[in-house]
């Protein structure tokens, strides 16, 4: 009997001691004392492969973090897979990451259609779909989708800001719009029209193009012929450069609004010709590393050093590379806040309790704020105007 009692007592002691240990460290699938598994889905191949660099720069960032000892002593295991920008593949890859690789959560899956395709699955599985890489508005819906969170300012908000600016400063404008015929272009368009409200009649012409088109020349000719004196340019970098140059060549000089997606000096304005871009108005929330005013900025210099050391193949002119760096830093903050409680629930909870958090690569005055009812971390942008050399900030930080 006595011999039996000892193991029982030992077992009892272990059971009683366990809750104390559990209170200190809590893990879900994908997290342990040694590592945190983070899933990521990127279009490394296919029509949007230019964005693939975001996944690479994020991987480089986590490599740097790991070399510096990881987060709270744990290494990040960043598992990034390719979906070729095709929703069925995204579903397959999300299931692979969650069910086979057993990641703690998926971070920065890219594309609106792709994230829509997996949103329901992620929420049924209760696996965080964190900081998705798309500017659509629908990611801020904590009531219906408590496991999905956006990150960047959404396109609609930005469109609304331009509309308000026009109503205030040019109430009799005749507006022409060029937009990409997909979710991104239409989201901007919707925000812009919502912002105009009852004054949508100010729009005299709207023309679309496809991402696969070779040029937008004919669209620009149509827009100029409409007699518009305001031009809202909703295009991705390549087309933005083409449109800016064409407007100049046609000697069409409208008040020109360029969406934030293409507000890069190095990859848009230089190819278009700097003198052709004078007077352009846009918005920003991250510093443009190709803008000379940031040459001596410590945060941008730190980013350049990081690029040289961890991602030497990366293009320093590509805005995606500083974007990926900034959002990776935001994730590092969330995981730091999680401490030793690495459950999926706590990851969402911490992501939803960012208070005035800043990564220094963001423009002055821009902050990340979230709460259980606010799943849109960055909701403010800065209006900027191009003076022929650099973007000049004007007015206050707009939005929330």
């Amino acid at each position: 009997m006595k011999r039996l009692l000892i193991p029982i007592a030992a077992a009892l002691a272990a059971v009683l001691a366990a809750p104390a240990a559990l209170a200190q460290k809590k893990y879900d699938t994908g997290a342990s004392d040694a590592e945190i598994k983070v899933g990521n889905i990127m279009p490394y191949s296919g029509p949007a492969s230019a964005y693939g660099t975001i996944g690479k720069v994020e991987a480089a960032y986590f490599k740097m973090l790991n070399e510096k000892g990881g987060i709270n002593g744990r290494k990040l295991n960043f598992i990034s897979v390719d979906d070729g920008y095709s929703p069925p593949r995204t579903v397959e890859m999300a299931r692979k990451l969650v069910e086979q690789d057993e990641v703690l959560f998926i971070f920065q899956s890219l594309g609106t259609g792709m994230n829509t395709a997996i949103q329901k699955y992620m929420n049924v599985k209760k696996v965080p779909q964190l900081f998705v890489a798309t500017g659509a508005t629908k990611w801020n819906d904590p009531k219906d989708f408590p496991w999905t969170m956006g990150w960047q300012p959404n396109y609609q908000t930005e469109g609304t800001i331009y509309a308000h600016y026009i109503l205030k400063n040019k109430p009799n404008a005749k507006i022409a719009i060029l937009y990409q015929n997909d979710d991104y272009g239409k989201d901007y368009l919707k925000g812009f029209k919502d912002g105009l409200g009852a004054k949508t009649s100010l729009i005299v012409k709207e023309v679309s193009y496809e991402a696969t088109d070779p040029t937008v020349d004919s669209q620009m000719v149509q827009l100029q012929a409409s007699g518009a004196d305001v031009f809202f340019n909703i295009t991705t970098p390549k087309f933005a450069a083409l449109a800016i140059r064409k407007a100049y060549d046609l000697s069409w000089k409208p008040l020109h609004f360029l969406n934030n997606v293409s507000a890069s000096v190095g990859s848009v304005l230089v190819p278009a010709g700097l003198e052709k871009a004078v007077g352009l108005i846009s918005t920003q929330y991250i510093k443009d590393p190709t803008d000379p005013q940031w040459n001596k900025d410590p945060a941008v210099m730190a980013w350049k050093e990081f690029m040289a050391k961890y991602y030497p193949d990366g293009d320093l002119k590509d805005a995606s590379n500083i974007y990926g760096y900034t959002v990776a830093a935001a994730l590092a903050q969330v995981l730091k806040q999680c401490g030793d409680n690495l459950t999926r629930e706590n990851v969402m909870k911490q992501a939803a309790s960012l208070k005035d958090f800043r990564v220094e690569t963001m423009l002055p005055g821009i902050k990340m704020n979230t709460s259980p009812t606010d799943f849109a971390p960055i909701e403010s942008v800065q209006l900027i105007k191009f003076d022929g050399k650099e973007w000049v900030r004007f007015g206050e930080v707009m939005g929330k």
């Binding site: 990034s80 897979v81 070729g84 069925p88 299931r95 609106t112 997909d182």
Partner: protein
């Protein structure tokens, strides 16, 4: 069908039924897609392999089937299984109508006409007057089907993934049976005759235009059923899901699997489902280059496709045994 073939088929079927009890849900999902693709490839193989017409735009019919199912479920609240025959019928009609004028075009010209269809469809799906139904660029999210209640009453506990797999397997068997029945009969012979000797076939009294249009229609119907099943499995349809690349991949699938072969459709489906994943795990920088290497390797080593290679290997073994 010989006795040995029948035994082999039953063995494969038994393996297919046992499979989902040994693998993870994620793998079950992948194999469900293999079944879906095999229906699609069978449809395309009828057209290209048996009838000798090249289509570069069959992904369009796959998309139409997928959208038909999604819209019926989303807007009309139809159960998922009821959408399949409708999706198939819609594609049969559209395919037949598209086939009528297009089949006056031969060879490369038909390939170009179908290519146009494949390229333009994703844009039509975004067309704003259709947005009410198609969801425009946002696409449509579909709920995942639950296993029917009677299975639970019979004491069979299946999760959603396994149920979907068995449902798709049953549909695949049905579609393969229909195809097998059609292709070995009078219509099948007429299709092959047109492929091999167009003029001779006509001289024998085959209404070539009608057979070709019907083949086009039936092959589109297979695509439509596959598209509907694929949409239910993926639970989402959107314009990005059905770009021209899908049509090309289907064509790759039937060539690698084996032209004019029913079993080739399954091999082709395995290829297009798993080889991109393998390629991705080998190189993140150039997955399609690796895919290309695989493709060239297959075509070089097995010029008649996987099914053809197996046929040749079996024939050789037979000869050896007889000697």
């Amino acid at each position: 069908m010989s006795k040995r073939q029948l035994i082999l088929l039953l063995l494969v079927l038994a393996a297919a039924c046992a499979l989902p009890f040994f693998i993870s849900n994620y793998r079950i999902f992948q194999f469900t897609l293999v079944l879906v693709y095999s229906i699609a490839l069978l449809g395309l193989n009828m057209l290209t392999g048996y009838n000798g017409q090249i289509s570069l735009g069959h992904g369009a019919f796959y998309a139409i089937g997928a959208y038909a199912a999604a819209i019926l479920m989303d807007k009309a609240g139809m159960p998922y299984w009821a959408t399949l025959p409708i999706a198939g019928a819609v594609c049969l009609v559209v395919g037949f109508l598209f086939g009528l004028p297009a089949l006056r075009l031969e060879g490369l010209y038909l390939a170009l006409a179908t290519f146009a269809l494949g390229v333009s469809l994703p844009q039509l799906l975004k067309y704003h007057h259709l947005e009410k139904w198609t969801g425009g660029v946002q696409g449509i999210v579909i709920p995942k089907p639950d296993p029917p209640a009677f299975l639970a009453e019979l004491g069979l506990q299946l999760n959603q993934d396994r149920w979907l797999y068995f449902f798709t397997l049953a549909m695949t068997l049905l579609m393969f049976l229909l195809a097998w029945n059609m292709l070995r009969g009078r219509i099948g012979r007429a299709m092959i005759a047109i492929r091999d000797q167009h003029v001779a076939a006509e001289a024998m009294g085959i209404n070539t235009a009608m057979v070709k249009s019907l083949t086009f229609g039936v092959s589109a119907m297979y695509m439509g059923v596959a598209g509907a099943l694929g949409a239910i499995a993926v639970q989402f349809v959107g314009p990005d899901s059905f770009d021209i690349f899908l049509s090309i991949v289907f064509l790759v699938g039937i060539v690698v699997g084996g032209l004019a072969s029913i079993s080739g459709a399954v091999f082709g489906a395995l290829f297009i489902q798993f080889v991109p994943n393998i390629a991705d795990s080998i190189s993140k920088a150039a997955p399609w280059a690796i895919f290309g290497v695989f493709m060239i390797g297959f075509v070089y080593l097995m010029p008649a496709g996987v099914a053809g290679a197996i046929r040749i290997a079996v024939a050789r073994l037979e000869r050896k045994r007889q000697n």
